[in-house]
């Protein structure tokens, strides 16, 4: 370990740190939020209506640019604003030849949201198993929690010990139904403030999706067979008033399904290929249409699907304007490092934004370094030039930070 070796290490570490800090500073100074306007499909006008926010002004407009007042907006979107319309006594009795009421709207309505962060995220392997048929309105929290990773185990909170009988009963029931540990993922809603309880959906080691719940204190375990039909990537459960579905299922080839209440049949949504690692999804459903919003890094597509047939009725594609940061970084930085990501809750260094365009600036900086060395009558070091050529500003600043100002001499002091 010589002095120069450590200095090289220091320069490399500083380069890496600068590749993290500098872009962060630039992003901070050019901070701009680019948001898509809220969009909803009007079951009256049969087109998308948007809420466009400009600075302090909010404009309610349709696709032809026609602006509406708040009251008009509410009437155009009765499915979204039915509570306001009910209050004003303006909710029509029927729409598109279908009788509607507050109750009927509520029954068909649901909201579902998925973010890549739901997938790239880890939770404790402990969940409550509610009694699904308690006969009570309010779901009651159990005194134990279960762990499902390597085997089914219930742990009692009062004594912090395993409930052997209960664990055994569930574990055996699962094994009997062909469940294979270790569990890959478990989906469910641990909240007691939900409409009803349908227990948990667990993906076993063989990629089979099982439905597991507790009914009258006994295990209910069923292979949904969805795993046989699809190569499951991610599952997220949902409770809806009409109990039409158990969950939304993403498969590995980018298709989206819901798991229907009819023998867990997967029903595909007619949307373009979906990437669970980068795309956000939200679904706002009403008795007429599902507003399916898919936000990819580059664009947003809003689909209007027919509530019954799930066929596509309309779609709206919007591309996002590049931020200042996105416009400048390819020319300034050959790459950059981010520790956090909007697509994942995990923190680790990610090398992003590779750009050949930055080589031009890098080359200028390398020439500058060579000139500077020449003027200071120092020898031009090819490795330093290489570093600046590859890493640009990062490398140049790092070299400056660990620049040895001392006169170059033949004398070197050695540490023993």
């Amino acid at each position: 370990m010589t002095k120069n070796n450590i200095r090289t290490l220091l320069i490399l570490v500083a380069t890496a740190l600068l590749a993290w800090v500098l872009p962060w500073l630039v992003k901070l100074s050019t901070n701009e939020a680019s948001r898509y306007p809220f969009t909803y499909y009007s079951s009256v006008k049969n087109e998308f209506i948007q809420v466009v926010k400009e600075d302090t002004e909010t404009r309610l407009m349709d696709q032809s640019g026609h602006e509406y007042t708040r009251a008009e907006y509410d009437s155009l979107l009765p499915m979204l604003s039915y509570r306001q319309l009910l209050k004003d006594g303006r909710l029509p009795d029927s729409l598109n030849r279908k009788a509607i009421s507050g109750k009927s709207i509520q029954l068909e309505q649901f909201y579902f949201k998925y973010s890549p962060r739901d997938k790239h995220h880890k939770q404790m392997d402990l969940n409550p198993m509610f009694e699904s048929m308690s006969g009570r309105v309010q779901i009651e929290s159990p005194d134990d929690l279960f762990s499902i990773k390597n085997k089914m185990v219930f742990i009692d909170a009062e004594t912090n010990s395993v409930l052997a009988d209960k664990s055994n009963k569930f574990h055996q029931a699962m094994v009997k139904r062909g469940y294979k540990f270790p569990t890959k993922m478990v989906a469910g809603n641990p909240s007691t403030k939900k409409l009803y309880d349908e227990g948990w959906f667990a993906l076993d080691a063989n990629n089979q999706l099982y439905h597991i719940k507790m009914v009258n204190g006994n295990p209910f375990v069923k292979n949904t067979k969805a795993g046989e039909k699809l190569d499951i990537d991610f599952v997220k459960t949902i409770e809806t008033q009409n109990r039409r579905m158990y969950a939304f299922v993403f498969d590995k080839s980018g298709r989206l399904y819901y798991l229907s209440d009819v023998s867990y049949e997967p029903v595909q949504l007619p949307i373009d290929a979906y990437n669970t690692n980068t795309d956000g999804l939200s679904i706002m459903a009403n008795p007429f249409y599902w507003n399916v919003v898919v936000t990819t890094p580059a664009q947003r597509i809003t689909y209007a699907l027919d509530n019954h047939t799930l066929e596509e009725v309309d779609r709206l594609t919007e591309t996002r304007e590049s931020t200042t940061w996105e416009k400048i970084h390819p020319y300034v930085f050959p790459f950059y490092i981010e520790m956090k990501s909007m697509y994942s809750k995990f923190v680790y260094p990610r090398l992003l934004g590779w750009s050949v365009k930055a080589l031009a600036l890098n080359a200028v900086l390398a020439v500058l370094l060579a000139l500077l060395s020449y003027r200071r009558k120092q020898s031009i070091k090819p490795l330093q030039i290489m570093l600046v050529l590859c890493t640009g500003l990062y490398g140049l600043i790092a070299l400056w930070l660990f620049n040895e100002k001392q006169q170059e001499t033949r004398n070197v002091i050695q540490l023993k």
Partner: protein, 223 residues
């Protein structure tokens, strides 16, 4: 001679070691009391589901304690060596210079690791009386970067402290701050679990850094 070097560091740092040990040891009954107190108020089953549901970490008050310990320990070890440049005395000892520094660093990091390790294990096993391994495991997964930050802070503090030139000291400090910030980027329990190799790497690198400044000290680099 290793014993002699350890003896010197021991005489220099024993009271500080005692103080740090007491803080870490004292944190154990504190965390247990805090936990049992919450149990009494909320009831165990309810509180368990709160911990799981809200991603609650009851040992999160530990977050910056190892960092502080590493920082204070590193400074206390090296500041006396830098007063009137008495590091020269240490380097003049008839013992290989790099080994002398390495042994000093080993004493510092070794005692820190021992304190972190022993009190961490005791805390882990005491908590396991009250909580399932899934919860404690998650808490300690979150706590690992805090302990590692303490170790990195120790080496970085030594590095900054040994550096003979003030301008370079300032640069080193900024670099050290940036490195330490990397350990505290976690938002939820498991968010840092993939960053552990990075942290180990930072610690290994920052273990080398002090030698750079020792070289510079030896050369008599000045402004």
């Amino acid at each position: 001679m290793t014993r002699a070097i350890f003896y010197k560091e021991w005489i220099k740092l024993r009271w500080l070691l005692l103080a740090i040990s007491l803080v870490f040891a004292g944190s154990i009954p504190y965390f247990i009391l805090n936990l049992t107190n919450k149990f009494r108020f909320a009831g165990k089953p309810h509180f368990w589901s709160v911990i799981v549901g809200k991603d609650l970490n009851l040992i999160s008050e530990l977050t910056y304690i190892p960092l502080l310990a590493g920082l204070i320990f590193g400074l206390s070890q090296i500041v006396p060596e830098m007063q009137k440049k008495s590091l020269k005395l240490t380097l003049h000892l008839p013992h290989p210079e790099k080994l002398t520094i390495l042994k000093m660093l080993l004493f510092g990091s070794g005692t820190l690791v021992s304190i972190f390790g022993i009190t961490g294990l005791v805390l882990y096993f005491t908590l396991s009386i009250y909580l399932p391994l899934q919860i404690i495991g998650a808490w300690f997964t979150a706590a690992l970067p805090w302990y590692l930050a303490g170790l990195a802070a120790y080496f970085l503090a030594v590095w900054v402290c040994i550096e003979p030139v003030w301008k370079q000291k300032a640069i080193n400090t900024l670099l050290a701050i940036a490195l330490i910030m990397l350990f505290f980027k976690g938002a939820s329990t498991y968010s840092l679990q993939y960053a552990t190799p990075l942290y180990i790497g930072i610690i290994l690198l920052s273990m080398c850094f002090p030698f750079y400044s020792v070289f510079r000290f030896k050369e008599g680099v000045q402004q």
